[in-house]
Subunit: 202 residues, 2 copies
């Protein structure tokens, strides 16, 4: 599926990356619960034992896919946000990029949107720092926009970063589950941004 | 936890309701995977066999809790929305009510927000008609508001019903997972409604 090799994992990363890519394909295709480490090894064309050099177990593989995706999203967002200094354009870029990445990597989206949330370990125990780091990009943009007078002063960035993420994430989930796509991600991004920036009232 | 007995389930509903309430308490307390039908029977103070008169198995109990909660939310929303004819007030009422119900029934919220999403059966196979019925309340309000000129004509109610639900649902999820609550549901409802109605731009 040609996932990008992340900058911070360049060293000895080829096999690690190959296993992550294989796990994404296997979990997306068969579901996490129905898949085995042996399935992933076969897909990655490595020995079963090789997987355990890099990952503790199947749950660790799942969490690693999540961390990989968060690194990817954060890295892409930071690169995309450099091109503008306007908070409104930055937020629009962040929202469009998230939806574009979901469309570009459907197997990864399937694992993150569906398989990951079925993991009790992930939902209840995982500290999830990278997710908070991703959310803080949104609260940072809101804070900057409040400072520069672009966004309203009475906004609470702590609440709104979750609200905006929730709005985008629900579209990502619906898109992932939809067999026949009823709208494009570009249309969704326009609707989300229109609502967030200007509201729905006339 | 004193959940309301739903109007459409009045007949022979006492024991059914008692089992649903027990299952909510057990699944919220121990997690769905760690709980057994026998645990639910003990909590409901009925024989194990009694559960199977009403429910096929543990998964059926989980889906029934979801359907119960959707019936409850739809019924409460329909009652609350009667008091106003203004689409903006209706949407505000819908959003506040959803968040209030999450706060009022934390065990139910825990099961719906956390336990249910760990069910492969629910995420992938369940037709989920009641959820779509609930979402259609939102698109109905948006459509009415467009017709009466309160809401913008270029809104796509099919996309926005998911976007608005996602925004509210993410707050419900964060609230459910938050040990020390950093904001009230009333504050969250104000932030969500402010953003949806008027946007975040100055």
């Amino acid at each position: 599926m040609g996932l990008p090799l992340l900058a911070n994992k360049k060293q000895s990363a080829d096999k690690h990356q190959k296993i992550i890519e294989a796990a994404i394909a296997v979990f997306a295709g068969n579901g996490f619960f129905n898949s085995t480490v042996a399935d992933v090894a076969r897909e990655a064309d490595v020995a079963d034992g090789t997987i355990y050099l890099y990952f503790k177990n199947k749950d660790d593989l799942l969490i690693s896919i999540f961390e990989y995706s968060m690194d990817l999203f954060i890295q892409e967002a930071e690169a995309a946000l450099k091109s503008s200094s306007d908070p409104k354009e930055k937020l629009r870029e962040f929202i469009s990029l998230h939806l574009k990445l979901v469309q570009k990597y459907p197997d990864l989206a399937q694992v993150i949107q569906i398989e990951l949330r079925q993991s009790t370990k992930f939902m209840k125990e995982y500290p999830n720092e990278k997710f908070f780091q991703y959310l803080d990009i949104v609260s940072g943009i809101i804070g900057d926009g409040q400072e520069s007078g672009v966004f309203k002063k009475n906004l609470d960035p702590v609440i709104l970063k979750r609200v905006i993420f929730g709005a985008v994430d629900e579209i990502a989930l619906e898109w992932t589950l939809m067999k026949r796509k009823r709208y494009t991600m570009a249309e969704a991004a326009d609707q989300v941004c229109g609502m967030i920036f200007e509201g729905i009232c006339q």
